[in-house]
Amino acid sequence: MSNQINESMSLAKPEANDLSIKQKVAVALGIIGLFIFGLAIFNTHFPNKTLFLTLSIGLITLGTILFANDAYLKKLEGIKNDGVWFKSISSRGVLGWMTGVLLTGFYIVLYFYPQYLGQTPSGEPNTGLISLFDPLSRLLSGNPASQWFVYGTLYTVAILVFGYKFMLKYRHNRYEQLRTASVMFFQLGFAFLIPEFMSRLNASSDYNLPYYDLKSMWPLNYYLFDSWSINGLLSSGALGLLMLLFGIISIFVISPFLTYKYGKRWYCSWVCGCGALAETAGDSFRQLSSKKLSAWKLERWLIHTVLVFSVVMTTAVIYTYLGDDPDTFWLTRSAFLLGVGILLTLVFSITMIFKRKELGKDARYGAIGYFVVIAVLFIMHYTGTSDKIFLIKASTLRSAYGLYIGSIFSGVIGTGFYPILGNRVWCRFGCPMAAILGFQQRMFSKFRITTNGGQCISCGNCSTYCEMGIDVRAYAQKGENIVRSSCVGCGICSAVCPRGVLKLENDTMEGRINSNEILLGNDVDLMTLINKK
């Protein structure tokens, strides 16, 4: 057999284990639910929208729950990856590709052609799929639905029903269960219900709160500092100001502190909505992420480029928002720019002075390169060579970021390509928040994955099921701890390890990176010798 073809080696037909009767019924129920959405898209006039909306979401939920019950509850507790690489949906087969194309298509329509879903100019009643969601939207916020409300509802339903499936699949593993309960809670409460209730408040003329997901932080929430957002918050009295302050404090205080204590996982796999979708609906695709060295190199360049883009864009947006006169408001454009410059220089210098050794060569060059770019921008501003970058171009930068990063990368590619590139494409290659938290995790977090002495048998389950494409085995077989910026702490490597070799831990900073190739089991002399060199 050729290694080139990458066959699964299975002679079994793609679905070695046929669906049971119950599973077929469950699939049918789910498809009927989706079919109602399909009809709605083609402007079918339903006599009772509330009934049909309830019916479709109810059937999809019921179908998934019945399917999951039948798949997991009749077997003993344990790792359930049997046949993952034989199933068309989870091994880039026909079903996988179809799902990928459908999802991608949905995102393109959602972001760029919402009229196809029934979005109408403001003031006119919705049609199509969006109008089907009007009853629910009115119930929650009092307003008719929008394409974002439809998306938010479907997103939340996906996380809840697939979260249930995930919890059954890992019912022997309390870490996975608690983590999933947490993302389900934050999605339903913080990302979905609270913002809807908040727009109810806007009915009063005292309030003009923008739609605000409290748990979503800059730079993931890149619109926090947009003028409409800041104006909205500032015009909403103490509550709005408090929320703006909370947004800023969470960037500089809360998130670094939590990352120091628990690693970036407190956010990426316990709170974040993108992470929540990836961990629940995307769970069947985690094995598809590339573990090649080349993919790792691409990842490091791409994600940091997005971060730099996001920093420059945000700086420009805030800069434009501020005035020049120190008498009207203490924070002037110059003061702000100076502040940003000092902060960036500080972060850069501290890293280069104290943590230089922990960075790879390419990472060092990258960091210096990015720093130079930002420094040049500042110099250009102060020498007056070009104030366009920060003045006139701010809106262009902002809309470019929103289009390319916010929509295309995070949605169209990030989620649409789940069945092709794995479930954390966005988190791995594009999320600027993941880049910042990852940097903090790599530099000053107590979090690491520890390896249990010499028990690794290099089987490769950990690497295969790492959704972030980390070659966990490369570390485990050397007995090394794993301290990687990209690790979101999902805990699956530890769960699938047949020898109990991996454990996610928060421990002291000391001895966090043990680059000694300690193979316990050899006598002390050999260990000393190997550690010496």
Partner: protein, 435 residues
């Protein structure tokens, strides 16, 4: 430049090659007839089960070997000419070496059962076995039932593999309880129940009499010794242990016993020829270890030791405290130090056994009943830290200390239920009853 030739691309051979490269610039060639690239043999089962593709079992990307100047040669060695320092291959090729490392591993045991070479009879050791299994047991329509003969680790893994494709399995175990030549009775019995819970037809104290052929030379059924019961089946897995894979050495002047005889420096009787891993046999067993250790970890340690010797720092193979691990269907097993089975237990060895009420977790702590010294631990369903037990064994802690400090050794994931208080309580009651 000195040419180091390694026969076998398993964990022993590859570890040696990697460490020789770290320490020197010698020319390295690795020979294998099995696969082009190194893969983790222990992971073959996951390929059949659909957890991984074959490429996932390869710890290094294909460019790794060229980059590290390790030459890979595919071929089957037929004869070693120790005088001319030359290897002769099946296809009339030959290769000269300066130093030769034999790391050819093992092959499944066959005990002369009638029908043991029929189509559909296989071991589960080589990649070819997996391809064979894929051909004879792709699903439960082509393979209506499989019979596994031999109650060890490979046997239960094969049972799990077939079970994952809903192929009914009959599992013949010669002993009265699964793997009880190694496991104490309490553990072995718990695993018996666990196997049956997976709807595997476990037959204890049962021997194979013969394998019956159909007209086309394929397996039709097996017959059990004593009762003469005939069980129709399409696949028979022979998993009654392994023997060193050294047939091609028999007509050379390298000294062999069951395996290639080596001293503590892993040297054979011929200068510049070494043997490591499953195929090496110590003249005298080291401590409680067997002269032939067919274990992943020992192969790796031997490889590392030998790389030192080859690179001018002659070093003896001096393994530390024994450890091993496995997984029985859904139950993980780890062992540190020595816990002997009930029937092989030396006089001085006494056991403390604790079992969780859910019947999937237990531990056995062995200690010297005269001195109370801690000797070893078996854990099922609870992960424990290697380093902690290694230290406790080196520090010669007593059993009371170990049980009281068991929490320090826990390696279970966060938020898992902890069992140390219950274990301590059981232990204290146990001690009180004795007093």
């Amino acid at each position: 430049m000195e040419h180091i030739v390694i026969i076998g691309n398993g964990i022993s051979g590859i570890t040696t090659a990697r460490h020789i490269r770290k320490l020197s610039d010698k020319k390295i060639t690795i020979i294998s007839a099995e696969t082009d690239y190194f893969f983790s043999r222990t992971a073959l089962m996951y390929v059949y089960m659909g957890h991984m593709k074959f490429e996932h079992t390869q710890p290094y990307e294909n460019w790794f070997w060229k980059k590290n100047r390790i030459e890979l040669k595919k071929g089957l060695v037929k004869h070693i000419d120790t005088e001319a320092k030359t290897l002769h291959f099946e296809n009339t090729d030959s290769l000269k070496y300066d130093k030769l490392i034999i790391a050819t591993g093992s092959k499944p045991n066959k005990f002369g059962w009638p029908g043991q070479d029929l189509k559909g009879v296989m071991g589960m050791y080589h990649k070819q076995d997996l391809e064979n299994l894929e051909q004879h047991a792709p699903n439960n329509e082509i393979c209506k039932r499989a019979v596994i003969v031999g109650g060890g680790l490979i046997g239960i893994e094969l049972a799990e593999m077939l079970n994952s494709r809903n192929i009914p399995v009959t599992f013949l175990v010669r002993e009265p309880s699964f793997w009880n030549g190694v496991l104490p009775d309490g553990e072995s019995e718990m695993i018996n129940r666990h196997i049956k819970n997976h709807h595997i037809d476990l037959r204890l104290s049962t021997n194979l009499k013969e394998i019956v052929s159909d007209e086309s030379g394929r397996v039709k059924s097996i017959i059990i010794e004593g009762t003469n019961e005939e069980i129709p089946c399409n696949v028979v897995g022979l998993t009654a242990g392994v023997t060193p894979n050294i047939d091609f050495i028999k007509n050379s002047n390298i000294e062999i016993g069951k395996g290639v005889k080596v001293n503590r420096f892993l040297e054979t009787n011929i200068p510049d020829i070494y043997a490591i891993g499953d195929c090496a046999e110590q003249h005298e067993a080291i401590g409680n270890r067997r002269p032939i250790e067919a274990v992943w970890y020992t192969g790796r340690m031997m490889g590392e030791t030998l790389a030192q010797t080859i690179c001018g720092n002659r070093m003896s193979y001096n393994p530390g405290h024994w450890f091993n691990s496995a997984k029985f269907l859904d139950i993980e097993y780890q062992t540190y130090g020595w816990v002997h089975s009930t029937k092989n237990k030396p006089d001085y060895e006494q056991h403390f056994h604790w079992k969780h009420e859910d019947d999937t977790k237990c531990i056995t702590v062995s200690f010297n009943k005269n001195t109370n010294a801690f000797l070893g631990i078996n854990t099922f369903g609870i992960r424990m830290k290697h380093e902690t037990f290694d230290n406790w064994l080196t520090e010669k802690r007593d059993v009371d200390y170990v049980i009281k400090h068991l929490a320090e050794a826990n390696f279970d994931p966060e938020f898992y239920k902890r069992h140390e208080p219950e274990i301590l309580k059981t232990y204290t009651n146990h001690q009180l009853q004795k007093a």
